[in-house]
């Protein structure tokens, strides 16, 4: 008797412990999800009694210009941002994993964009993206001094090559990126560039100020991409979004890097592997699980992007920034007209199904998940 009682206790304990979360899940997710699913087949407008309309909402959605625009924007945004942020996060993590002085300071500093409120960052970026903002100013500078910078870089590469080549002729083993030579090359290249500039051999180009409309435009970029081009304001949000999310994923990669056994690198070195070979054949495959996580989280986050569109608001034409999540909000609260709760719910369901599908496809292609289950 005593035995059965304790085994019953043991069986129910997990459910008791799960119940607080389960309660939240049922009330705030399951109930809401089922309600939305039901509303998506009705013409509910918050006040009148919902009428069953079948799949009319879903058909009407695809007839609506703004919805198809939102769908395209969301997909483009998700693909481009997830790809770039994964690559940058990995590279940044590898750099941050070096054992150099003050690395902890850099790790903290680089993590700042992710801790800062997204609203604050979006507001700051909105100023930077103005026609006379910082970004256009920097582009103008780059345009004006492009030649000078080019000459400097060419000199840098040339001097470095000569220095290393000279050593190699003497039969000494020197890496092409030998740090002490790089410092020397930078100093020499700077002096020569300065002299060139002083004698007027190279001059800053008298270019007009760059005047790119980052926000207030319906123009699509890049112009050669045809049907795959996206509105430039969406591009601005991509830049902003990548900048804020890279550090979060960098942390995940950093954790993964700590877990790679040193022995693997040592063995590879014995076999004569170069730096990039070690990166490509050891680091990248060893981080496969992390990459799966980063890509999954990235896809979910980017497909449901909402806040930045909301804050940019009427600084940019709606069709240039609208995403699926924003479309749902816009249909549920259209300002002065009847809330189209039916349409909004249908769009929300499509967004949910889309997110699930994309993540599943990603899972199949990366061959992940099987490994996790075993």
């Amino acid at each position: 008797m005593e035995n059965r009682w304790s085994s019953l206790k043991e069986k129910t304990a997990p459910y008791v412990l799960l119940s607080p979360f389960l309660f939240g899940f049922i009330v705030f997710f399951s109930y809401a999800f089922i309600r939305s699913l039901y509303f998506s087949f009705t013409d509910y407008d918050l006040f009148s009694i919902p009428n069953w309309v079948g799949i009319t909402n879903y058909i009407n959605l695809f007839k609506e210009h703004l919805f198809t625009r939102a769908l395209r924007n969301s997909l483009t945004f998700a693909i481009i941002v997830t790809t770039l942020q994964t690559i940058f996060a990995l590279l940044l993590a590898v750099v941050m994993n070096q054992k150099i002085r003050g690395i902890k300071y850099f790790r903290t500093a680089y993590y700042m964009p992710s801790v800062t409120s997204s609203i604050v960052i979006t507001l700051i970026f909105m100023w930077m993206f103005q026609r006379k903002g910082v970004i256009n100013y920097l582009l103008t500078l780059l345009h004006q001094y492009g030649l000078t910078i080019g000459v400097f870089l060419a000199l840098l590469a040339g001097i470095q090559f000569l220095l290393v080549f000279k050593e190699k002729l003497r039969g000494r083993q020197v890496e092409y990126l030998e740090p002490s030579y790089i410092i020397l090359s930078i100093i020499l290249a700077s002096i020569i560039t300065y002299v060139f500039k002083d004698f007027g051999i190279i001059k800053p180009i008298e270019a007009k100020a760059v005047d790119i409309f980052w926000l207030n435009t319906r123009e699509k970029v890049p112009f050669w991409a045809g049907p795959f081009a996206f509105p430039r304001p969406l591009g601005a949000i991509m830049i902003l979004n990548i900048w804020t999310t890279v550090p979060t994923f960098m942390i995940l990669y950093l954790a993964g890097l700590q877990g790679i056994p040193k022995a693997l690198y040592e063995a590879a070195e014995v076999d004569g592997a170069k730096g990039w070979q070690k990166f490509w054949y050891i680091t990248v495959p060893q981080l496969k699980h992390i990459t799966f996580l980063v890509v999954t989280l990235g896809l979910i986050g980017t497909l449901q992007m909402f806040d930045q569109v909301k804050i940019i608001g009427n600084q940019a034409p709606l069709e240039s920034t609208i995403t699926l999540a924003y479309y749902v909000y816009q249909s549920a609260f259209p300002g002065a007209s009847a809330p189209k709760v039916g349409m909004a719910s249908a769009a929300a369901i499509i967004l949910a199904v889309l997110t699930l599908t994309v993540v599943l496809i990603q899972k199949v292609f990366s061959g992940e998940g099987r490994g996790l289950r075993d």
Partner: protein, 416 residues
């Protein structure tokens, strides 16, 4: 000792019962946050409490800091909305048609202090649907031309005045811009229908003909060309191009000579540019029609149709819109109240810039082709295509014809 205790008990119970029998009806008032909170709370203390305290009615203000309309729609749908709430002309039609607002005709018929005839008719009309009144306008605003006196003085150009046509105003701006050699520009040209629309109305344009909007109408194009032409001729600038979000902010930079704003700009200028000497006049007249155009922006009190305290809410509404309350609001320069009788108020004859500005805004609402700031059930979605067209033309991305063609297509899709 025992007796003493029981007497105490009886007295306590009596006190409790009397308190219950005098139970008060609490009317929940919902409106915007910010300055409205202190204004309404003071109105409650000054005018509602003395009037209704002995009738057992109290009022409490619940400010909604952000997204008031979304909040109201949600709470109406959930049945938790206040008894008395703000209704902006811009979106009131929808909640009225959804049956969420109590028609006031029966209450007005019984009321001794509030009648339809007291209110400025154009304001009341804006809240009248199928012959029933759903809201009592509390105050209103219209657009006026706010200009920087110093800049006109330095340039030696006469101030804009009520006799100006579009051409006269353009001449004044071009003289002024010439004098400053481009350092200062004329008009702050917000790329928004909320400003530009006044000129389209002045040219005689009707926004809705048989339920459709026609941007190809010559009157609309005339206004569009003039407004965007000011930018092209260097006589105006979009606020964003001088790092500002709106006309009020643009005026404080002293880089624009004038902006189109309502009385809401006065408090802003008082706080942000106390030394700016500004003047206010009517919007210029269209040279062909000889009329100015304007918008009426107005907010009314509405009663929740599902409230349990509708009678009490109406009593509170009476107190909040009483002549005394409105006079107090006007004399404080807080808003321009909706009672007709206040047109002759001595406040409007005061010689302060603010009183004069309020007078222009008050009179502007009945001069020329004036329409309420609402666009059927489309709201902001109706204005968006026009706003984008204005901005694309003024930033030189599209020609007038290209931009209007796209805008027309989008409006046709919206209104199909």
């Amino acid at each position: 000792m025992k007796k003493g205790l029981s007497i105490l008990l009886i007295v306590t119970m009596l006190l409790v019962f009397s308190a219950v029998s005098m139970a008060e009806t609490e009317v929940r008032i919902v409106g915007w946050g910010g300055t409205d909170q202190s204004i309404v709370e003071e109105l409650i203390n000054k005018f509602v409490v003395p009037e209704l305290a002995d009738k057992g009615i109290t009022a409490v203000y619940e400010p909604i800091v952000d997204d008031f309309q979304k909040n109201l729609i949600n709470s109406l749908s959930a049945g938790t909305a206040g008894d008395l709430f703000y209704m902006d002309i811009f979106w009131a039609e929808y909640i009225i048609k959804a049956g969420q607002v109590e028609p006031l005709d029966n209450y007005l018929a019984k009321s001794a202090v509030l009648s339809k005839d007291d209110i400025i008719p154009s304001l009341l009309d804006a809240f009248t649907f199928d012959g029933k009144v759903y809201g009592i306008p509390k105050d209103f605003n219209s657009l006026a031309l706010v200009y920087n006196k110093d800049l006109f003085d330095v340039a030696g150009v006469s101030y804009p005045d009520e006799k100006d046509t579009w051409d006269d105003l353009e001449n004044k701006f071009s003289k002024l811009v010439k004098h400053f050699g481009g350092e200062v520009t004329g008009l702050c040209l917000a790329p928004e229908f909320a400003r530009f629309g006044a000129f389209a109305y002045a040219a005689g344009w009707e926004p809705f003909v048989d339920g459709k909007t026609n941007l190809m109408d010559p009157a609309f194009k005339e206004a569009f060309n003039w407004y965007t032409g000011l930018k092209e001729k260097g006589l105006g600038v979009m606020p964003a191009d001088i790092g500002q979000g709106w006309g009020g902010g643009a005026l404080t930079t002293e880089k624009v000579a004038a902006a189109l704003e309502g009385a809401w700009v006065l408090g802003f200028l008082r706080d942000n540019a106390p030394n700016l000497k500004y003047g206010v006049t009517f919007l210029p007249k269209n040279p062909r029609t000889g009329q100015p155009g304007n918008f009426i922006y107005t907010v009314a009190w509405g009663i929740n149709a599902n409230s349990k305290n509708k009678d009490a809410a109406f009593k509170v509404m009476e107190a909040l819109t009483s002549p005394a309350a409105q006079q107090w609001v006007l004399e404080r320069g807080l808003a321009i109240p909706s009672r007709k009788a206040l047109a002759d108020n001595p406040y409007f004859e005061k010689d302060t810039p603010e009183a004069q500005a309020n007078k222009i805004v008050f009179l502007g609402a009945s001069a020329g082709n004036v329409k309420p700031f609402k666009f059927k059930e489309y709201g902001g979605q109706w204005m968006d295509p026009i706003n984008v067209a204005l901005s694309e033309v003024m930033s030189g991305q599209k020609t007038v014809d290209e931009a209007l063609e796209i805008a027309q297509e989008q409006l046709d899709e919206l209104m199909k």
